[in-house]
Symmetry: C2
């Protein structure tokens, strides 16, 4: 190991774990545009949002002033079962790449859900229980978010219906079983249990579904069931707030090690892990305190930011959610069934979208086969089999480290290793068999999606 | 939480990680009987063992004097990628059971192999590489050991053939894919690639295989291939030596917390995780320094210790390995295809067998359905989805804690949570569907197995 002062892996102690989340919205001088009620064209009120989401989540969603928000004891208690997560200096990857760059990653996959999603599930399930609700609904793509919410619902004692994107439920039958083991009711989406599902099935009987479809179904079920609310795994500001625990823990460790990253890299699907990882460093940047570069990485098969439009759009396919100002491929965009289910979403977090629009970050779109190549290099050197989603960040971290090798620069690179690939072996098999293909939408495919963006 | 002084989860720092393994053999006044060469009836010599195993492993296998053995820097370096493992105070499980007992567990599943097996794989792959070998072979049951060795072989740069018990390879197709991703060649056993495999297939064409069969094939392949040796995942003394890192880390943490366990519980298949977990506490007991109770837990479907014989027997079905004095159901015993693949072995570690024979520990046999019931209680309270193997220990830890509830005793219970159940969802599905059955061998079944024990 090249530097004896920095350990391979560092955990905060229980006492050092964050007691507050960081609210990026309070740091942004230029705020993102508000959610709009599609019926009125006016900003959504608390009351309207509270019909869908938990009260406390709505309060936090609309909080643009408090820089820090306290993490309740009940949530911190559950966090202890799977946090702190390790901050790792990737010595073995550095050596394999022969790079002068220092590579760090924050590994969020050390829990049964296999990803960072549990950070937000914990908070939302806790607040639902506190509000006296008896059940929640949600959607899930790759299944990591559904598993996370199943675990949190079991812990806090809530019933749960999970609408799982059909193609993922076929690719990952055992994901369904994990959720069931924790007591959740899992429904393949589109389903015939909701109006939204029936409508989509009628129009596209052969569809493998999408996160957008599944969201429509879960929201409909929540608003039509007493004592029930809908819980979203990404995109929204309060989700990014809860995910800030990733960045806060990372910064607490790196500060202690005397490291300030030159580059922070995360994959972006709905934007929550990325928003959470970058939070404290982006807060510094918004205050003019650093020149850190932030890179979001998306799949070339679903290029919401690199090829999308910055516009008001629905968060779901059936157009029943509020309108969000975000980078979008159009709520009608049907992504190809690539393997990164968690990145297969037409839109993007309004916070991340705004930061991108305002030039605080850049985005790279990468092809699947290159992503798996990076994943396997990582697995063989650092030991962990990464999720395909996370491997998008690995791909660009490796590329940045190789640029350092070429230039001789000794940059500090931090990336988010959001999860494990234990339920993605069908995809690894395709790669190992040499049968994996890269499916990139044509301009014509995109035009079809853009046509579904509402005219404002 | 009932006791603020003890954190929920404790990790050693990198500097505090053990630098030596603990050699239980050196503490046992009454040593276990030596391995015998079946051809001569005499104790195996180093030379004979070195034809099968790595040189350094044989040296350690035959070391009955050194209490501590240094962990080489190369192994400690790889250990850093997945160790230290957390020592957890199971506050949430305690609360659910409403027990006055303090329950602690050492969680070894936080790595891609999903279990403690990587501790031993790391050491054996390192020593093979140091010896200048180019390849190794092994067998795997549930697939955790094979995955572990695949990871270690990739890290140290060795080729690897894994003979995987056929029934497990059918139940867990994705396990094969993980191993392949790390570069291993995986063969379902019995196979037609070895003499041993062909012979077993001829006699039992429909067999789902067993660890014993797979061992025969892997050993044959190793001894017939230049620059190749065989690596065993359990049973042998040097494997237990490497697994002592589990117990040493546990004791380092518990000592700091001021806790000395009254009861130490682990599942037993070949005995390596149990032997490793108990090592420092058993060393104390062998020196008369504690009254700690040690409980090994085995499946009622493969009751090597509770219903086996203490006798010299072959370690494999094809009778090509040395003879070991151990508790055994007979090398010809064909266990039922229950789900705890890792505990489906006819024999038991000679060290653990000797400790049991000499009264230093007791053993409980538990039924599968009771094991899964405990697993789900654990998952819902502590968050982690446990491996069926590990859940045998959870079952008895819960039973012991409930006894404390009845008696009012405030015992400290430590158990080994050896791994995760992410690749055992087919078994969980059976339990969730209510279709799981308990298959317990009849006395007649056992008699058949005992008939295969060689007459000495």
């Amino acid at each position: 190991m090249s530097d004896n002062k920095i350990p391979y892996k560092t955990y905060l102690t229980e006492k050092e774990m964050p007691k507050t989340w960081l609210n990026l919205n309070a740091f942004m001088k230029s705020k993102h545009d508000p959610f709009l009620n599609p019926a009125t064209g006016k900003p959504c009120t608390s009351e309207e949002l509270e019909a869908v989401f938990c009260k406390e989540c709505v309060k936090q969603e609309l909080n643009f002033t408090d820089k820090e928000i306290e993490i309740p004891e009940g949530i911190r208690s559950f966090y202890k079962t799977f946090r702190p997560s390790p901050l790792v200096r990737a010595y073995f990857l550095e050596k394999a790449l022969d790079t002068p760059a220092e590579i760090y990653y924050k590994f969020e996959g050390n829990n049964t859900s296999g990803s960072h999603k549990l950070n937000s599930a914990a908070a939302q399930a806790y607040y639902a229980k506190q509000q006296g609700l008896t059940s929640v609904t949600t959607e899930t793509g790759a299944g990591q978010w559904g598993t996370a919410l199943s675990m949190a619902a079991a812990f806090f004692g809530l019933n749960l219906d999970v609408f799982m994107v059909k193609v993922s439920s076929l690719q990952k039958p055992y994901r369904r079983e994990v959720m069931r083991t924790y007591g959740a009711n899992v429904i393949a989406s589109p389903s015939d249990t909701t109006e939204a599902g029936r409508k989509i099935l009628k129009e596209f009987p052969e569809t493998g579904g999408s996160l957008g479809c599944a969201i429509s179904e879960a929201v409909e079920k929540a608003v039509s069931t007493p004592g029930c609310r809908y819980v979203l795994g990404s995109v929204l500001d309060h989700v990014i707030l809860y995910q800030s625990v990733i960045g806060l823990e990372s910064k607490a460790v790196l500060d202690r090690l005397g490291v300030y990253p030159d580059t922070v890299i995360g994959c972006v699907g709905g934007g929550s892990n990325f928003g959470g990882l970058i939070a404290p460093y982006m807060a510094d940047k918004l205050q003019g305190r650093n020149g850190t570069e932030f890179i979001g990485v998306e799949p070339a098969s679903c290029p919401s930011m690199t090829r999308g439009k910055y516009a008001y759009d629905f968060c779901d396919r059936a157009k029943i959610t509020p309108l969000a100002k975000m980078y979008t491929l159009g709520c009608g965009f049907m992504p190809s069934p690539n393997h990164s289910g968690g990145l297969r979403y037409h839109g993007m977090s309004p916070i991340v979208s705004k930061l991108y629009a305002d030039g605080y970050m850049r985005v790279e779109a990468v092809e699947q086969s290159k992503v798996f190549e990076a994943a396997i290099t990582f697995a063989k050197t650092e030991g962990i089999l990464p999720a395909p989603e996370s491997s998008h960040a690995i791909r660009v971290a490796i590329d940045e480290a190789l640029k350092c090798k070429a230039s001789g620069q000794k940059k500090s690179i931090l990336f988010g290793l959001t999860g494990t690939g234990y339920f993605d072996l069908a995809a690894y098999k395709q790669y190992n068999d040499g049968t994996m293909t890269d499916i990139i939408p044509t301009d014509k495919d995109l035009e079809k999606g853009f046509a579904s963006i509402p005219k404002m």
